[in-house]
């Protein structure tokens, strides 16, 4: 398996046709992501982040371009084959999207049921994975009983249950408070380190990128404006979007400083 680019995206294009005219969301994206990387894609609302990540597991069908994950050509797959390979692509969501009709145990068991795993395997694997996300005591709870952070942990457990090749995160921490965000990010970091799991995430929170990612790309008007290591981005931002992001981010930090210095407003 090519260590260099585990995920290869070439010439990804997507245009949404609405009655008010066409909206070009992705205008040709080329990206390579290494195995074991935590890759972040940042951009403002409407930049096309969601469309991009949804193209990776073909939840959205691009107009042009290819996506390869490992040896799997996502765009040329038959529907059956795609469904089977989707079982190996974990995905977590901003609003968790857990099944209210299922207990925590059965939510995490869901992808295993889909994959046709035996009951005994499910009974063994689910508690294991819930232990990993520190929810070993919540097996029989319903999602309705959990806090936002706990729900996202269940979401992560569900995404990991079937030993995925890659984890896609669609704004997974955007609905969480800062403290909870931090604990979820720590969990993702830990999973990446322990299992070498490749994580692709999109976010509009620069803090998330700084805390978690190894590599980052900036999406601007449907194109990759720049890419590199997280350090590069913060030390030497080149694109307008990146500069603006860092400016906004640091002005928030200044506010914190004011409070710390006791100047108040």
């Amino acid at each position: 398996m090519a260590e260099e680019n585990f995920i290869a995206i070439k010439g990804l294009k997507k245009t949404f046709r609405t009655k008010d005219g066409d909206i070009e969301v992705l205008r040709g994206i080329d990206l390579n992501i290494q195995k074991g990387d935590i890759f972040g894609l940042v951009g403002f609302s409407g930049a096309g982040k969601s469309t991009f990540i949804r193209c990776l597991n073909r939840m959205e069908t691009p107009d042009a371009g290819t996506v390869r994950i490992g040896e799997h050509e996502i765009m040329s797959m038959e529907k059956k084959e795609l469904n089977r390979y989707r079982q190996k692509i974990g995905m977590i969501f901003q609003h968790f999207n857990l099944f209210d009709s299922r207990t925590v145990f059965r939510n995490v068991a869901y992808p295993l049921e889909i994959a046709g795993c035996s009951r005994s395997l499910i009974r063994k694997r689910v508690p294991e994975i819930l232990e990993l996300v520190e929810l070993g005591d919540k097996l029989n709870c319903y999602p309705g009983q959990l806090s936002g952070g706990q729900k996202q942990r269940v979401g992560i457990a569900r995404a990991l249950a079937n030993n995925p090749d890659v984890l896609l995160s669609d704004e997974a921490t955007s609905a969480l408070d800062p403290q909870t965000t931090l604990s979820v990010l720590d969990l993702l970091k830990d999973i990446n380190r322990r299992f070498g799991l490749t994580i692709v995430l999109i976010t509009h929170e620069l803090e998330v990128v700084r805390y978690l990612c190894h590599h980052v790309a900036v999406l601007e008007n449907g194109r990759i404006a720049e890419r590199g290591t997280v350090r590069d981005l913060f030390q030497n931002p080149k694109s307008d979007t990146a500069k603006l992001f860092i400016k906004i981010n640091s002005s928030f930090n200044h506010t914190e400083q004011w409070f710390q210095e006791g100047e108040g407003i």
């Binding site: 939840m59 989707r86 995905m91 969501f93 209210d100 009709s101 869901y110 049921e113 889909i114 319903y142």
Partner: protein
Amino acid sequence: MNTNNSTFWGILASAFSADTWAIVAPAILDTLYMTAITTVLTLVFGVLLGIVLVVTDKSGVHPMPVFNNVLGAVVNVLRSLPSMILIILTLPLSRMIIGISYGPQACIIALAVSCIPMFARLVESSILEVPKGKLEAAKAMGTTNAQIIFKVLLPESFPSLIRNFTVTVIAIISTTALAGTFGAGGLGDVAVRFGYTRFKTDILIAAVLVLVVLVELVQLAGDLASRYLVKKRFLV
């Protein structure tokens, strides 16, 4: 017995007399029989039809726009006809299928034809209430369409389905009463034949009372079941 020849209290007392109930009691059985069979038919075919409507919609998991439009039109036509007219229209159908066009059995077909489209629309709206995000998550995990229906859509919409099923059973009871006028028998028949045509207000009261109790019981059962599920899932 009616207000022209008896006092109100006299009628009320007579409504609970053995003579009255000798007429009403067999009618209760007829009504229960028609309601039960129609309910089973409506449940099975209504859920099926509802699922097909959702799945084949142009934004559904297996879009078949032309088929969906035709099916939707048929459902709408059936729903726009008053039950009374549907019953008259389907009586020849009963004669074809079971040989007679009167009695509880004959009316079951009419009742089912009139109640299935209604329940199908309610099933459709219940399923559409399931948040899109859950569907997305299921698809992203590689769920097939059949699995989406049975593992996601139906279980997730179950409390709402139960509420809508309750509404439907009550509608079935009231339609059986209507079918009574067309030779179906049952409580509606008794209420019309004795209460209306023969001015036997006491029998009318008894029939109405039974209908009220039936509807209340169904509503109570539906509410309890739905509330139990919502509580169990901590959705309140």
